[in-house]
Amino acid sequence: MAETETKLISFTLNGQKLSVPAGTLVIEAAKQAGIEVPSFCYYPGLALQAACRMCLVEVEKQRKLATACTLVAEDGMVVHADTPAVHKARKDMLEFVLTNHPLDCPVCDKGGECELQDMTFTYGIDHSRFIEEKLHYPEEKWSPIVFYDAPRCILCFRCVRVCDEGMDVKALGVGARGVTSVIIPNESGQLACEECGMCIDICPVGALTSGTYRYQTRPWEMKYFGTACAHCSNGCKTTLSIRNNEILRANNRDHSGINGEFLCAKGRFGYDFTTNAERIRQPLVRKGGTLQPASWEDAIEEIARRLKQAHDTHGAAAMGVIGSNHITNEESYLLNRFARTTLGTNNIDHHRTADYAGLATALGSKAKDSMATMAQIEGASAIVLIANDATQQNPLVAWQIRAAVRHHAAHLYIIHAGPLKLQRQAAQSVDVPAGAEGRAVGWLATGSGDLGGKITGELEKFKEALAKEKDVVILFGANVRGAAVRNLVKFGSGLSGQTRYMSLGDYSNSRGAADMGVFPDRLPGYAPLSDANERGRWGKLWGKEIPPKPGVNARQMMQAALEGKLKALYVVGANPLKTFGVKAPDKIAGLDLLVVQDMFMTETAQRADVILPAASTYEKDGTLTNTAGEIQMVRRAVDAQGPRSDFDLLRILIHQLAQLGLGAAMKHRTPEAVLEEIRQNVRGYDVSIAGLLTGGTEQATSAPAAADGSYDVAADLVFSSQDDLFTSGTLGRYCSKLNSTKESKERPWSSSPTTQSWWSR
């Protein structure tokens, strides 16, 4: 925000002396002072409209009433919001709004949480003087998830503005004039857009309704659970509406959490995987070549027995564990304990969707002040986006970038291969060949690198422009990894102002898995395995010594399994066969035992010897860490019918194996207890528990004690799964509502121009 706006002015509202920063709107000042000024069309963060005229107030020495939403408070101004004239104006405006509004509240989805209903009760009228027939238009289906009922529309244009300004999609417009105005979608009665559903959420009445929720229940019949979204790594808070142990809706109308009211299509409509018919609901054990239902006791017994057998015959080096980008921090932590002490192996890894370890080791002790939060993106004066299509892969990051550019005139700089929608906001954009982003960063840091004269010239200007910025946030995707991250940090720390970094991963707890040390060579908090002190500390905590030899990574594990060197593989919430493109026949030849904990019959699960059905993020308690390191609590909003949480499964198995002589038993029974252990022991996780319990976020800044100049990672280990707005790895396949939109059939990075949508470019 500009410095000049901090000057205070004072004015009188309802006889109350108010002191506000110059430039404050009267409606905002009233809100802060607790004085009610009603409005429909005014919406913080969106352009002023003054269309509904509900906020009329009386200003002394002005003949006519003024709209408080466009009235800037001036020094010495005297405003009245509680006079007979104002009350009459509100009543009359409501009567106008209601001229065409149908009285179908009993069947309207908004009934019970409708702003027009509330206003009518508060200020309104119990009769209408209009005898003219109401205008009627049939309901329109704009997409499988957006419906428009024109008669209910009160023409506040919030939807049009949020689609244009907030989302930068511009899919909605106003058609016709005056009383016959209607909202029209962009493609002859149909929507072609990002299907974010922001228009539905922002609609004050029931004109825009959600195809996934409509006509199922009423707002007061549901219970509301604030939790974090299960899909991408941005960790938007989502409020799940529950009835009868079923999620009926997801939104964030209370503006709580890091995302305010923002949610993308996945967060808003991608919750129905929990009730998908293909969900595995009981343990399966392979008997005579086929997977057959088994009891929990038998399945656990089988796993424990065969793990012990494999461990005793082939040794700990023949065991492997693949972790998940979706399970909670507590579960990743337990999995780490399970691998390193129970199985006694360092063969533990996961699909790394961003080089979090690279950033942490490059920053070292500087991590605490150098990791950006989602809010800091909006506050930054310059944003650098490297190798990531944030609009598609990190929708909240893109939303924050747009807000920064729109509200605070921040400058956006992009280094990316190919066109991006965010280039519309960019001050400068450098198009580099795919895969050369790391080299471009290297050029920025060292001035050397073979990139061609044109790109080098552009990067030169890029560097010059950035040197003038005060507060820079650098966002980078998976293609910036290993040495490139170190170069980036070197370049960033050379800038004159404050520089913060954010590594952009793919899944809901990608960052958490990394922070919890699901690596063959790193312990929780990125503590190096080679450090004997760290090994000793964690070994003492987990009741058994940690072997010093680093394990093999995920790709090597899959290769070893094919070659018969790995005998037992334990997979939790991951699909390594698909992720790493492993070609395997029905059974992975070398493996004696493949255990999979998952929700669905993935490619990996199909080849498993034992499958344990796992609960989803919405069905368990724990914490997730988003890509910015912000920790949030997730809550058990619905009960899983059959499956159990990964936490429970691991806890039971650790006990079972401890009885057979592998590892030590653990005393913790709940995720809360393990969170406590994490807070006390994982570097950077010593956050306030109160902040988490009250539904807020706390930033974790996990990093090793000292920066490590030699940390490098193979290029084929850190890679993005290239999920877009409508895909979410394996989980996305089971979101039928999300997949019902026509946009979900298109792939934004498809090379064919006919399938590229103008709205996403």
Binding site: P106, V107, Y215, R218, E221, N244
Partner: protein, 168 residues
Amino acid sequence: MASVVKEFFRTFVILYKGFKVTFITMFKKPTTENYPAEPVHFQARYRGIHVLQRDENGLEKCVACFLCAAACPANCIYIEAAENTADNRISDADRYAKVYNIDYSRCIFCGYCVEACPTDAITHGHGFELAPYDINAMIYRKEKLLEPWPPPKATPRPSTPSPVGATR
């Protein structure tokens, strides 16, 4: 002597007062009903087992607005709503009640639901024989509460006494 006459009169007055109602009622038509041997007579506004009404086309009047459930002080109404489609049209509006249960082990027959109903879909009928052997049988489903369609010929309506058992 005078005291005897006085006593006689006082006794007579007391007896008259005591038996006045008895004597008057003795010659009136009895108000008791010979239930269950004979049908029961109801006042028109008697609040009995609910009836879910249909409109003149046989469509259900209930639009699943949940207002009855919201008004219910005993919390005994349970509804699940669903959308009407062209090939499955149940009510006249956009939605209908897929499930509509009333738990008569909780219902206190206060009539708030009837008062709350914006479409006059739920009304009180004159049924009252609720006692079952199994408490689960006291949860009445929509199928049991709905007015039959097509209407049975010459349905005895509340004005005429209906035979026990067929009472609504």
